[in-house]
């Protein structure tokens, strides 16, 4: 099993083999989780800080569960109501955590690159795990998505060659999309981004993916359909005329659900806007793996913590 370097900031930090190794580790950990002793002693005595500058109860709980199942001590540091909201800088916060002896910092931040700044700045010596930075990346989400895909397509062992993945929605503002594109391409999958031109970044032509403006043409040929959340603030910024028009063109409704291949899966990183980018029927259908994604999130984050902090 390969060891990660000190940080996980971007999918670019991982080779394909290292990514597969994390998925394999997560699979091994799943066997433990299914057994009678759910807790492993691996990180006993280590301190892991959840440093969340944005509200994200799901991601924070997922990391917290992962850390606790490895017997680490977990400190939750939420920006809301803390000194951060009183104007304290990321640097001061980081140095405070350093003084408290954090071994790893899991950071969620609204500014793209904040995790990398934390890791590179010399403010702190702890390992840094990016739990979502602005509109840049969310690497553990991509890893848990890959784990979920592999669990549904067991023939995918060391790569994802031949797998066709459609990522649908607001690519421009999505850290989930960026991390998934990087990881899926690294593993050899064929990725198609499905969106309206206003929600695709200038420069996407360099990403090495296909781009489609027609969901109906793409869906029938896809093994995986990954729906992205439409943030409500996009409605007022003229990215598209109305929520209904967006939903008609890019929502996963009942008729599109019916056009899916029988073994295709539907994914969503959550939280879902039911009735906007995904209908209730699609979200709850037998082809949806949304809840498996949540469960797998804990396993994959355990694997990341295990590989980052496990041996030293």
């Amino acid at each position: 099993m390969s060891k990660l370097d000190r940080h996980l900031l971007s999918i670019n930090d991982l080779s394909a083999a290292e990514a597969i190794s994390i998925l394999d580790t997560a699979f091994e950990l799943s066997k433990v989780s299914d057994g009678p002793m759910k807790k492993l002693p691996t990180l006993r005595g280590r301190t892991i800080v959840n440093l969340f500058f944005e509200d994200s109860t799901r991601t924070r709980i997922s990391f917290e569960s992962a850390a606790k199942r490895l017997s680490a001590d977990v400190i939750n540091f939420s920006a809301k109501g803390s000194s951060v909201s009183k104007g304290e800088s990321l640097k001061d916060t980081a140095q405070t955590l350093q003084a408290m002896g954090a071994d790893a910092v899991i950071i969620r931040h609204g500014a793209s690159g904040a995790a990398q700044r934390l890791a590179d700045s010399g403010w702190i010596s702890a390992s840094v795990i990016n739990a979502g930075d602005g509109t840049h990346e969310h690497p553990t989400q991509a890893l848990l998505d890959a784990y979920t895909i592999r669990s549904k397509f067991p023939e995918l062992k060391s790569d994802f060659a031949g797998l066709k993945v459609a990522i649908v929605g607001d690519i421009l503002h999505s850290r989930v999309a960026r991390s998934n594109v990087l990881l899926l391409k690294k593993l050899g999958a064929e990725v198609t981004l499905v969106s309206i031109p206003t929600l695709l970044p200038v420069g996407v032509e360099a990403w090495g993916v296909k781009v489609s403006y027609d969901f109906d043409l793409t869906i029938a040929d896809s093994d995986v359909v990954m729906m992205l959340r439409i943030q409500s603030e996009r409605m007022n910024e003229s990215y598209f005329p109305t929520a209904r028009e967006y939903s008609r063109g890019f929502g996963l409704d009942q008729s599109r659900l019916a056009s899916l291949k029988t073994n295709a899966i539907v994914m969503h990183p959550g939280p879902m806007n039911r009735g906007l980018e995904i209908s209730a029927e699609s979200a709850d259908s037998h082809q949806s793996v949304v809840l498996a994604q949540v469960a797998n999130g804990v396993l994959v984050r355990m694997a990341v913590l295990y590989q980052l902090l496990g041996s030293n």
């Binding site: 500014a111 904040a114 509109t135 970044p201 420069g203 032509e205």
Partner: protein, 428 residues
């Protein structure tokens, strides 16, 4: 008291002695004698450089730069005239503030400090500032700019262009369409798409340049385009000049050398407005500077304290130091690439800016009877930039640790030695 600079090499290749006293160049020839003789051993002598775009932060942010420290940075970089922009606190939008900055420059006494006045009150883009009062003040302001912000209202821009004609003034525009750059963090392109940073598209600069050229043409006024950064902008200025529009343009040293791929890593020392662009733009800017489409190099020297750079990219301030590295960067970008000669460099960094601004006793070349604003350069030197050895109060240079060509050895302002490189490479 007269000084002779023996064995001075001029940009035309000739080797002469230059004698000056009482602030004036007295004689140019060979075997000259004087009270003090300095053997330059063939080092280059050029007229003092002139910067049309400087931020000195005084009044208001003296923690990052003052007129005095900025003046010292200037002469260390070979500048004998600098033009502090109006975005201070309070804004330089009245005769009182521009006179204060002008007098602070006089007190520092290292170089000429010619303030630029705001176009609009408080840089708010709503009402014209008292341009006439600033012009007739002791600061004698001729260039007006809301730099940092664009004079976006087309009617106000038209009025400003027309208004300053009565005293041959110029409006220097920071060309940035505000709606197209809301929340922008870096050049919009492949790198911004990967980093998830909001893009600052080239079209936002070009749309304003195109509009302003048409306005200047319509009212027959003088427009100066600040810090041009895009290939499309160069084309617009080139076409306008070809049909006789009174437009001039500047480029910064950093836009001649650095590109947006440096932003990978999110080190905010590379955060600047307008942003670093692509290699294609850099090549177009170099070509434009070489063929004269771009008239001048201007530093956009923008000091910021450490806490405004040692932070997340998104909250960091825009701007880079420039005065102490400008000459070397232009040598690297333009002379070492064989795009320009030293004579061309002197034109773009001294003669042309002084001509555009109408600065007395600046950019007049090395001629008998003229003020002795002279810079001695070791053109063959290589030196490594060290942000901890800057005269500036701030350290936000993007060239830290970079090895650059050509070093300023001495700067004379009105015949007075205002900078001399120490033998260990540091400055006195």
């Amino acid at each position: 008291m007269s000084i002779v600079l023996k064995n001075s090499k001029l940009v035309d290749g000739s080797n002469v002695d230059i004698k000056f006293g009482e602030g004036l160049i007295q004689e140019i020839g060979s075997n000259l004698s004087g009270d003090e003789v300095v053997d330059l051993k063939g080092n280059l002598v050029i007229p003092g450089l002139v910067d049309l775009h400087t931020h000195l932060r005084e009044p208001g942010r003296e923690d990052s730069e003052t007129v005095a420290t900025g003046s010292l940075a200037a002469v260390r970089g070979g500048y004998t005239a600098i033009s502090p922009m109006a975005n201070t606190t309070p804004v330089a939008d009245t005769a009182g503030v521009v006179e204060q900055v002008f007098m602070l420059g006089k007190e520092a006494g290292l170089c000429d400090v010619f303030p630029i006045g705001a176009v609009t009150q408080g840089l708010e883009g709503l009402k014209l500032a008292e341009l006439g009062a600033m012009n007739s003040s002791r600061a004698n302001v001729r260039i007006f700019s809301d730099d940092g912000k664009c004079v976006f209202d087309p009617l106000l821009m038209r009025r400003a262009l027309e208004y300053v004609k009565s005293f041959d003034g110029i409006i220097a525009q920071h060309a940035q369409e505000p709606r197209l750059t809301a929340g922008s963090q870096m050049n919009e392109g492949i790198i911004s798409s990967q980093l998830g940073l909001t893009g600052w598209p080239a079209v936002a600069e070009e749309a304003i340049i195109a509009r302003d050229i048409l306005l200047a043409e319509h009212v027959d006024s003088r427009l100066h385009v600040c810090h041009l950064t895009t290939a499309g902008g160069v084309e617009l200025v080139r076409a306008a000049k070809a049909r006789g529009v009174k437009v001039t343009a500047e480029v910064t040293p950093h836009h001649l050398l650095l590109t947006d791929d440096l932003v990978v890593g999110y080190n905010a020392v590379y955060k600047v407005n307008p942003p670093l662009r692509t290699q294609k733009d850099v090549l177009a800017l170099r070509a434009g500077l070489a063929d004269g489409t771009i008239d001048v190099v201007a530093t956009d020297h923008a000091p910021h304290p450490n806490e405004d750079k040692d932070c997340e990219w998104q909250v960091a301030a825009f701007g880079m130091l420039g005065l102490e590295t400008a000459l070397s960067v232009v040598v690297a970008a333009m002379i070492e690439t064989n795009l320009m000669s030293w004579a061309d460099l002197v034109d773009r960094m001294s003669l042309a800016p002084a001509r555009i601004a109408g600065y007395a006793n600046q950019g007049i070349g090395i001629k008998v009877g003229q003020v002795a604003n002279l810079v001695v350069i070791d053109a063959s030197a290589k030196w490594t930039v060290d942000r901890n050895r800057m005269a500036s109060k701030s350290k936000n240079t993007p060239f830290h640790d970079m090895k650059l060509p050509a070093r300023v050895l001495k700067t004379y302002f009105h015949g007075k030695l205002v900078h001399e490189m120490a033998t260990d490479g540091s400055a006195n």
